[in-house]
């Protein structure tokens, strides 16, 4: 059997135990540091860098070129990419073929001089007259209406999810702890994009939404074990509330490790294939968000959500009693002899 199994055995019996709950101050500090870093560094960089899908940009149209017929569509779109890059380095334009013989090139918003230069470069690259290259401004495909509806949907979802958790776990404090962990995960993951100055594309946003789901999912799995243990232990238990929660987290630790590895493996392979074989693109955008988010999501369930839950409940009179009384003295036999 693997060492992880033996590790799991000792965690299960409590023979070996990590003090997740007791050292919570340390974890809080780490979480707070990450959140402050994510927000602060992003702000220092001047906020998030949104893609053309959000901000709109410039669009060029090369009319009536024979290049598509001559060299095929894949080669024809690559030409436009090179032409734009020669004027605006690192622009990574979106190129498609429209109507069989026109090329559509979308870039971030360019200055009038850049626009003229790109027109010239495109005309030269496709061997057409400069009058055949038109340019215009385009609006966002991910408009304010999509963002607004998505935010409304998120608020409704988080409210509903909190309600369901509060009812299922029979305490709103678990729901609150899960939400705090969720926001921590979201801020840290999006913060990475802000700190590294990576462009936020619709694919990245979909990645963030997936993280939101995963973070909550993972916290619920850990909390369900906590619920099992704390309800079994009860007031009569010799363990304090904090100890039962800590044991529960330790007992699910092997699950948490296995799950995060299993979830990270496909993400890592997309990230690898996406960034090393293809360069920047949809795959990398979504995979990076997921790669970081999965790890942070698993981490926060153990190091943030569980200690916070203990913190919230510790001062309840019922919970205080637990573990504080001496070993219960039971009569040797039943009431009837």
């Amino acid at each position: 059997m693997s060492r992880l199994t033996q590790f799991g055995n000792s965690l299960y019996t409590g023979e070996r135990s990590f003090d997740f709950v007791g050292r919570r101050r340390t974890w809080y500090l780490i979480a707070a540091a990450f959140v402050i870093l994510a927000i602060g560094l992003t702000a220092l960089r001047g906020g998030f860098l949104f893609g053309i899908e959000f901000r709109g940009g410039s669009e060029f149209r090369v009319q009536d070129t024979t290049v598509v017929d001559d060299v095929g569509s894949a080669q024809a779109t690559a030409i436009a990419g090179d032409a734009v890059e020669s004027v605006v380095p690192g622009a990574s334009p979106r190129v498609s073929i429209v109507g069989g013989n026109s090329i559509r090139v979308q870039t971030e918003q360019l200055t009038p001089t850049e626009t003229d230069d790109v027109r010239e470069a495109l005309a030269e690259a496709y061997g057409v007259d400069e009058t055949s290259v038109s340019s215009s401004f385009i609006g966002a495909t991910w408009g304010a209406d999509i963002t607004r509806q998505a935010l409304i949907a998120l608020v409704v979802f988080l409210t509903l999810a909190s309600l369901v958790m509060a009812i299922y776990f029979r305490t709103w404090k678990m729901a609150l702890a899960a939400m705090v962990a969720l926001f921590h995960d979201l801020i840290v993951t999006t913060g990475l994009y802000g700190v590294l100055g990576l462009e936020i594309t619709p694919a990245a946003v979909i990645g963030f939404l997936t993280i939101l789901g995963y973070s909550l999912y993972d916290t619920v799995v850990v909390f369900d074990k906590v619920r099992e243990n704390t309800s079994e232990d009860g007031v009569e238990s010799r363990r304090t509330f904090a100890q039962s929660v800590n044991l529960a987290v330790n007992q699910t630790l092997v699950r948490s490790i296995n799950t995060s590895i299993v979830a990270v493996l496909p993400t890592a392979s997309i990230l690898f294939v996406g960034s090393f074989l293809l360069g920047a693109g949809t795959l990398r955008d979504i995979a990076l968000a997921l790669f970081i988010g999965t790890i942070v999501g698993t981490y926060s369930s153990i190091f943030l959500a569980a200690p916070l839950y203990v913190h919230l409940r510790e001062n309840e009179p019922e919970v205080k009693k637990q573990g504080s009384r001496p070993k219960p003295v039971r009569p040797e036999s039943g009431a009837v002899r």
């Binding site: 059997m1 693997s2 992880l4 199994t5 055995n9 299960y12 709109g56 669009e59 894949a74 498609s96 429209v98 109507g99 069989g100 559509r104 215009s136 401004f137 609006g139 966002a140 991910w142 408009g143 209406d145 999509i146 509806q149 949907a153 509903l160 999810a161 369901v164 958790m165 619709p202 694919a203 979909i206 997936t210 995963y214 909550l216 999912y217 619920v220 799995v221 369900d224 074990k225 007992q251 092997v254 799950t259 299993v262 493996l265 496909p266 993400t267 890592a268 392979s269 997309i270 690898f272 294939v273 996406g274 693109g281 949809t282 795959l283 979504i286 995979a287 999965t294 040797e332 036999s333």
Partner: protein, 586 residues
Amino acid sequence: MVRSTPERKAIRSLVWLLVIIIALVGANAASVLFNNGQWTPKLALDLEGGTQITLSPQLASGESVTEEQLNQAVAIIRQRVDAGGVSEAEINTQGGQNIVVSIPGTPDDETLARIQSSAKLEFRAVLLADVASSSTIGEEGSEDGAEPGASPSADPSASPSATEEPEESASPTPSASPTDASDLAWVTPELQEQFDTFDCSSLDVVGANVAPVDEPLVTCEQDDSIKYILGPAEVAGERITNARADLIASSTGVTTNEWGVFIEFDGEGTQQFRTVTERLVSLSGVQNQFAIVLDGRVISAPRTISAITDGRPQISGSFTEESAQTLADQLRFGALPIGFEVQSSENISATLGVSQLQSGIIAGVIGLILVALYSFLQYRALGGVVLSSLAIAAIITYLVITYLSNQQGFRLSLAGVAGLVISIGVIADSFIVYFERIRDELRDGRSVDGAVEAGWKRAWRTILISDVINFIAAIVLFVLAVGNVRGFAYTLGITTVVDLIVVALFTHPMMQLLGRTRFFGGGHPLSGLDPKALGAVYRGRAQFRTPEGVAATKIASSGREAQRRQTIAERKAAEAAASTGKKDAR
């Protein structure tokens, strides 16, 4: 062959799984055979390309379109496109003037109409009606065309269509200003002149016929059979809160074969509509009719038989199911602030192309192999269960997505493919949660099949609640969000349901059956269920675990206690055993 209960249950579950898979294959086969479906999911704009439709606003000379109007139009068009399926269309403005709609595949006329018509709905009182001059249909046609259809509280038996004969009497031309919307004083000599020479074919240009809401309007019935002079607009489409398409029921409650659009007004609209119908009900001739005007053309002009007070009229008028649904969607999301016409409609190539899709699939396969390797490392032979469960999940997901792609217009984008690859992790987590609970039970000293049952009970609760949360996310995002987010919600919902199906109908039954084999049930070191490796104190079915950490005196006292509490039968049996033991000893 007599089978134990868990075994029978397991087989029943597996049969259900088979039924589900066969049903999905059948449903797909049906859509391939009868609905031009395919065996592969359709791909979205980024992977397959589609059609780029450029819409330009219809403006009178000198008019210009504001940015606000354009953004509003984009939002409404997006909702209309979304209502037609989960196609992940891209809609944006271009040059501060046009709207560009890119949709996968080739749009049919219905889709184009859905996108471009402004869908401005008005209710106007009829002042005058006449057989359209360009129409070749006689008096009979005009009667049919004006058949009452929009009076929900109306008694059909009391609606003789003969009373709707267009009034051809010379219209009065009083110079007094009109007192209400039905006042014939609206018909000025100029208007009468325009009406007499009006040619219905001039209406063919969409959105060309627009009159200010406070002025009368000259227009025609949809089929150009009748022309009307209508009073000023009395209830506007903005007052509509909801609209749906359904079959119209007759007064006896029997559903007819006629499609209609059922609308609901808000409070103000209800009040306005009530005032109009109360006034019209007392009038006679064509003035008793009110016209439902869509984009400057009369859909239907029903008679008012009684006042409609509940604000829920229905619109009828030679609808098909599709056209009724289209109109209902358009009304629900509101009218476009301006009318648009298609300027160009061209094929557009994929922005990402096949190489990206291939890379995504390769990444998925690599990910799957890594997950399989890790599962075998961690769970030994149980890794096989993980792998086969994932395979079943993949089959079901593929079938569901293909089916929905045929039925609901769902399109798979690259982000969607990535989402599916990621879902491998979440689905595998269900198995991990389950296996870890089984191992916990084994550590407590249970037998393998006991541990499978007890572990399942605990794991199922956890899997269910966490999946329920994910499913809520999917539903809420799908209902409330628009655009790409809906596509994400769709994929999330599918994988969550597939996860539940696979873990309940495949993984658990498999464990129940495997728990009965010698290899797994006996806890072979390679089975992943070896109690020794899991640190279980005792193994075997009839043996019990000694209470840990209990003093020997405590055990002794419990033993004495148990002796004292023996039943008579037990005591006699014990005595008998003791005496035979003594005899043997002699």
